[in-house]
């Protein structure tokens, strides 16, 4: 049953569609995204400060508190027919931010943004400032300053699985949690040409070094006076996460929720590495077919039970359900990052399940 609100919303959507037709524009995916600080609770109960993305629910940035920050951020999708992605970005942090999708060309990019390192009191956009050989790039793309709203447009968005990250001081802002998956299918139910799927699973690998997070949150990280941690050179992650969770978080057991995979059903697994370490996703009980890397479809799939997933990389794989439900297959990091702050078992360990349907 639909609520009145939903009907009204659907009517409004229809109106928008018609409007779009009338003005003769192609469709665009449009998102309103907030960036803010949050506390993330690790599986052992310890809290770690993070910076992350959250979708603004009323799509206008007018009301506060109508967004939830998560790490990784919410999955954004661009419909198969859409060529354009627009992200309105609200910066609630106390330093500039920007957006960068690895493998996609930002159309309205006036960056990079240069600063007079380390004081950061002056900025330039575009080319290196003339005769200035000490300026450094702070942001890959144009910045959104604290408290402000920025707009980022990708007008020829490619098909595939991609990682959106902060483009500003990425060594710091990305590891604080500013990343999310962004996806465009070739067609409804088809990731790429001739790569159809029945169900989808998104798997983001990432790690947390709480000491660096705390220093960043306290403003004592990097080239600042009284820095407690000068850089990430000594980074030593203590938490090894899949989709913001680590074993034995319920959300990893199984990682794909209640999914009924009949014999022959095709499960598309989109693997992303948003961390800074290399991971090796491995299914010890099953082969999968690797179909694409960084949004590029392979000419031929590769049959394997695991693969190397480097930082910033995405890999799309198809797992064909070998039999009807129920079954269970373990998915973990074959680099054996299987602890939570040194306590074993933990970390990057989960399973994929095909569940029996509920009895009615």
């Amino acid at each position: 049953m639909f609520s009145k609100k939903m009907i009204r919303f659907q009517g409004f959507s229809l109106f928008l569609c018609l409007l779009a037709f009338m003005v003769g524009k192609t469709f665009a995916a449009e998102y309103w995204v907030q960036v803010d600080t949050a506390d993330m609770t690790m599986v052992d109960g310890k809290k770690v400060p993070v910076w992350g993305f959250g979708l603004d629910r009323d799509k206008n940035f007018l009301t506060t508190d109508d967004y939830t920050i998560s790490v990784p951020g919410p999955t954004l999708r661009v419909d198969p027919g859409d060529n354009t992605l627009i992200i309105h970005l609200k910066n609630n942090l106390s330093e500039p931010i920007s957006l960068n999708i690895l493998g996609q060309r930002l159309t309205n990019n006036s960056g990079p943004v240069w600063t007079n390192f380390p004081s950061d009191t002056q900025t330039w956009s575009g080319s290196r400032p003339a005769e200035n050989y000490t300026a450094r790039v702070r942001s890959f793309t144009h910045e959104t300053l604290p408290g402000e709203v920025g707009e980022y447009r990708w007008e020829s968005f490619r098909t595939g699985t991609f990682l959106l990250q902060s483009g500003t001081n990425p060594a710091k802002q990305v590891q604080m949690g500013m990343y999310l998956p962004i996806i465009k299918d070739a067609a409804q139910g088809s990731a790429y040409a001739d790569v159809p799927y029945d169900e989808e699973l998104i798997v983001v690998f990432h790690e947390v070094d709480p000491a660096i997070h705390r220093a960043i949150a306290a403003g004592t990280y990097g080239a600042v006076p009284d820095a407690t941690i000068g850089s990430s050179i000594g980074r030593a992650p203590k938490y090894f996460l899949i989709n913001g969770m680590s074993y034995p978080s319920e959300g990893l057991l199984p990682i794909n929720g209640k999914m009924i995979l009949l014999k022959g059903a095709r499960l598309l697994i989109r693997f992303l590495n948003a961390g800074l370490d290399t991971h090796v996703p491995q299914l010890s009980e099953s082969y999968i077919a690797l179909w694409a890397e960084d949004g590029n479809r392979y000419l031929y799939p590769r049959e394997t039970y695991g693969f190397e997933l480097d930082t910033g990389k995405t890999v799309d794989a198809i797992l064909v359900s070998p039999e009807g439900p129920p079954w269970k297959k373990h998915l973990y990091d074959a680099r054996l990052n299987l602890n939570n702050d040194g306590v074993s078992p933990g970390g990057m360990l989960s399973f994929i399940k095909s569940s029996l349907p509920d009895h009615r």
Binding site: A236, P237, K238, T278, V280, Q282, S284, E285, Y287, L299, Y300, R302, E303, T304, Y305, G306, F307, E308, H330, A334, R335, L336, N337, L338, N339, D341, G342, S344, P345, L349
Partner: protein, 448 residues
């Protein structure tokens, strides 16, 4: 004068080969190997135990390893690092029985076989599979707990097995090994006298060698030795010892099963004759990647994770790729085919004159081409330990006192090593770690 010297060398070759053949057998660095050694069969009884290995920095380190139980006498050997190389046959059901004799504090133990459809029975359910408990937690009259893993390998190839219980610590301690599945029959179009890695003629090889990569943080092994298992923290992991087939350089040059390395039975000493195809079964058993660099020629990666790199089933390794360096990826296997003829040298490796007959598999276009360099006088340069004194294959020449001497049969040594050069040490002592050598031998030098 150069020609004269060459002739003299050639005459010496055959004499020296015969003499050195015998000496070579005794010699450190010239072991006899053509096929990977291990435990062949379909039924295996493994016991997880503690023991100690020797590392080339002179240390001895506590390990947990799998010991094999002799099928005839029923006696169990010592734990070994890595675990036994299990050599099985495609489509023949494999049964592996596991018992736990680790110290009580080590907890349960289990094995996962990536890529195989395993049925596990007995013991208790664990995170990834059934586990065997240590005797101390069992009722006194329960006897020994046994877990049985059964699977039927449907495809030949190279595989790995690793612990599935507290896998970070148990893998670090040594509970892993290689699994080799040999084809059930000669592939279509193949010849019965030849060997094949997969069910396709393009996987033919003449010799095979195992490269099973692992690493160790000795501090963790100390903590385990002191039973401070609660203090083991893998977020502080910092390996300083690296292994191929469980030994580091130079120990890996010694023969298989030497008595002074009782818990490290496997060596890594590839040798070949020019023109042969060498299959390298390459396995990442640890947790780090190691970029192994195979000097001397490109290899072809024909398979990954026990599957030929094929555009479609039955097409053979038509998607094989060539390179000189490949990373060992944790939990992953790859099959590489490497060959060497001396083709790119542009001179005759045998020092032939154009009228001489060809050696077996000699690269004919180079036949009789002169050596392009005037060799410096004997005492003008320093020679490496593996230089025979002659630039020609199987040759011997004069060396100054104290030089050379480690190349018994005048072979060509190609260093096969990690390009993460700090891994060429054993606990900060160079040379050690991930150094090995392929020796290309004169056709008259017997290898098998």
């Amino acid at each position: 004068m150069r020609r004269k010297r060459m002739d003299r060398i050639k005459k010496q070759i055959h004499f020296w080969v015969v003499v050195l053949m015998g000496a070579g057998l005794l010699f450190f660095g010239t072991s006899v190997q053509g096929a990977i050694v291990g435990e062949s069969g379909s039924t295996f009884q493994l016991v997880a135990k503690s023991d100690v290995i020797a590392t080339s920095d002179g240390d001895s380190t506590l390990i947990w390893g799998f010991a094999i139980t002799d099928g005839v006498s029923g006696t169990t050997g010592r734990a070994q690092y890595p675990g036994p190389t299990l050599i099985v046959t495609e489509d023949v059901t494999v049964t592996i029985t596991l018992q736990n004799e680790l110290p009580y504090k080590a907890g349960n133990v289990s094995i996962v076989f990536p890529g195989q459809q395993v049925t596990a029975t007995g013991g208790v359910g664990g995170l990834l599979t059934q586990e065997a408990r240590p005797p101390e937690v069992l009722p006194s009259n329960a006897g020994v707990e046994q877990v049985v893993y059964t699977f039927t390998p449907t495809e030949p190839g190279t595989y790995v097995y690793r612990s599935g219980t507290r896998a970070d610590l148990q893998t670090e301690m040594g509970l892993f090994g290689a699994l080799i599945v040999r084809p059930a029959a000669t592939p279509t179009g193949g010849s019965p006298g030849k060997t094949y890695a997969y069910n396709h003629i393009d996987s033919q090889y003449d010799r095979e060698y195992l490269y099973l990569m692992s690493e160790m943080d000795p501090l963790i092994h100390r903590q385990v030795e002191l039973l401070q298992l609660g203090d083991v923290d893998f977020t502080r992991y910092f390996p300083t010892n690296w292994f191929i087939n469980g030994r580091n350089y130079p120990d890996l040059l010694a023969e298989n099963y030497v008595p002074w390395l009782p818990t490290q039975p496997y060596n890594c000493q590839p040798r070949m004759h020019p023109g042969e195809k060498v299959l390298i079964r390459f396995i990442g058993a640890g947790r780090d990647v190691h970029p192994m660099h195979f000097h001397g020629n490109d290899f072809e990666t024909i398979a990954v994770d026990g599957r030929l790199l094929s555009s479609e089933h039955g097409a053979g390794p038509d998607l094989a790729w060539q390179a000189t360096t490949i990373k060992s990826v944790p939990g992953q296997t790859a099959d590489l085919i490497w060959g060497w003829t001396g083709k790119e040298l542009g001179w005759d490796i045998y020092g032939h004159s154009p009228d001489d007959p060809l050696e077996p598999d000699e690269y004919a276009p180079n036949h009789g081409k002169p050596f392009p360099v005037v060799l410096p006088p004997r005492d003008a340069v320093t020679y490496g330990a593996f230089y025979s004194g002659s630039p020609f294959l199987g040759g011997e020449g004069e060396l100054p006192p104290g030089h050379g001497g480690l190349n018994a049969a005048g072979g060509y040594f190609y260093m096969w090593h990690s390009h993460t050069e700090k891994e060429l040490t054993s606990n900060d002592i160079w040379p050690g770690g991930l150094i090995s050598f392929m020796i290309v031998e004169h056709p008259d030098v017997p290898i098998d």
